[in-house]
Amino acid sequence: MSDRYDRAITVFSPDGHLFQVEYAQEAVKKGSTAVGVRGKNIVVLGVEKKAVAKLQEDRTVRKIALLDDHVALAFAGLTADARILINRARVECQSHRLTVEDPVTVEYITQYIAQLKQRYTQSNGRRPFGLSALIIGFDNDGTPRLYQTDPSGTYHEWKTNTIGRSAKTVREFLEKHYTEEVQANDDECIKLTLKALLEVVQSGGKNMEVAVMRRGKPLQVSFIMHQKVRLDNIHIYILKGKKI
């Protein structure tokens, strides 16, 4: 029954499914894992970096993108689709600043991205965006936020969440280990992100990237270069913080 109803995505199947959207969600499940953790004074994003071919330049395949000074995004799914969304979101952040003379709230930009995704589930000849995004940042009043969007165009706020490959396993881990103490302590939040990623990341430490945003400070993106990451003394090489 499904193969007759998923060509034009504007069409519902008889049992009420939008199959293209569900297939897009499958694409997300194949993407590399991303984890987001929200603390009291810090928000952290961690992504699994796929191993690059030997001859390929290991310049960071940017899976964590800065949308504005105070908002960042990590995604799981189709990289090319993500690029489009990130560009549109960046322009919207600036447009908001120009017209209302205020930086966007994290919810506003999440809503914008979600709305964009939804539009593509309801128009002719277009397929949905094959990615879920984790959006972190601080609002103007200093509140830290973490939101998740998915291909259907819905968005929800989370204390901590994961998307992409093995999301179920990682989410169970997070549910078990995310506590009030972790939330209050910056380092604990970073450690939780790393530990969560280590549950699923292949070679144990080389293929992760972590981005940290503290209130009022620019995003810091770090590489973990060591083969084995010992979480009690983390050797993090901090790259330049991006500031506009």
């Binding site: 800065l66 949308l67 504005d68 560009n87 960046r90 322009v91 600036q94 447009s95 600043r97 120009l98 991006k242 506009i244």
Partner: protein, 205 residues
């Protein structure tokens, strides 16, 4: 009265030894009446990149805001600071987009290259024709007076303190010969590791 002389302004920029200076008057007036003596005409676009916008005050503010928009997106996409020369092209593009209904501003750009720290100054007309020079650039209602002062006072390879003296004297004596500019001045000296902003005490007329 020309639309470019409605609000009145005087801005100049000079190259020195491993530094640049940019200076402007602070008057905001409506023809003969002075409204404010604290009007900002020089805007920071990067840690060592400044743009001065003389001309119609509403366009001064709009051009700055729209320029900041484009610059922010550029820096997010490229993940690096913009070079002064590229920034000049960006300003020129923004102005030429309005070729047949232009913004009434004639910008002045001063900065140091983010990598090599080489000094850079440039100016352009209201439809974006750029002019890069090796010495100084001027723009505003008293541009002829400013050209005269700069041509006489400027010399190459001035140290930051000497450059400050030179640009201050050049600007002040030029806008003192113009009815619609003056009423205070601000001078920025941009060096590799710091930017100094100084206000000048001038004739308040």
């Amino acid at each position: 009265m020309s639309i470019l002389a409605y609000n009145g302004a005087a801005i100049m920029a000079m190259k020195g030894k491993n530094c640049v200076a940019i200076a402007a008057d602070r008057r905001f007036g409506v023809q003969a009446q002075t409204i404010s003596t604290e009007f900002e005409k020089i805007f920071e676009m990067g840690p060592q990149l400044f743009v001065g916008l003389p001309g119609l005050a509403t366009d001064v503010q709009t051009v700055f805001q729209r320029l900041k928009f484009r610059l922010n997106i550029y820096e997010l996409r490229e993940n690096r600071r913009i070079k002064p020369k590229t920034f000049m092209s960006m300003v020129s593009n923004l102005l030429y987009e309005r070729r047949f209904g232009p913004y009434f501003v004639e910008p002045v750009i001063a900065g140091l290259d983010p990598v090599t720290s080489e000094p850079y100054v440039a100016s352009m007309d209201l439809i974006g024709c750029p002019m890069e020079t090796n010495d100084f650039v001027v723009s505003g209602t008293c541009s002829e007076q400013m050209y005269g002062m700069c041509e006489s006072l400027w010399e190459p390879n001035l140290e930051p303190d000497d450059l400050f003296e030179t640009i201050s004297q050049a600007l002040m004596n030029a806008f003192d010969r113009d009815a619609v500019s003056g009423w205070g001045a601000v001078v920025y000296i941009i060096e590799k590791d710091k930017v100094t902003k100084r206000f000048l005490k001038t004739r308040q007329d």
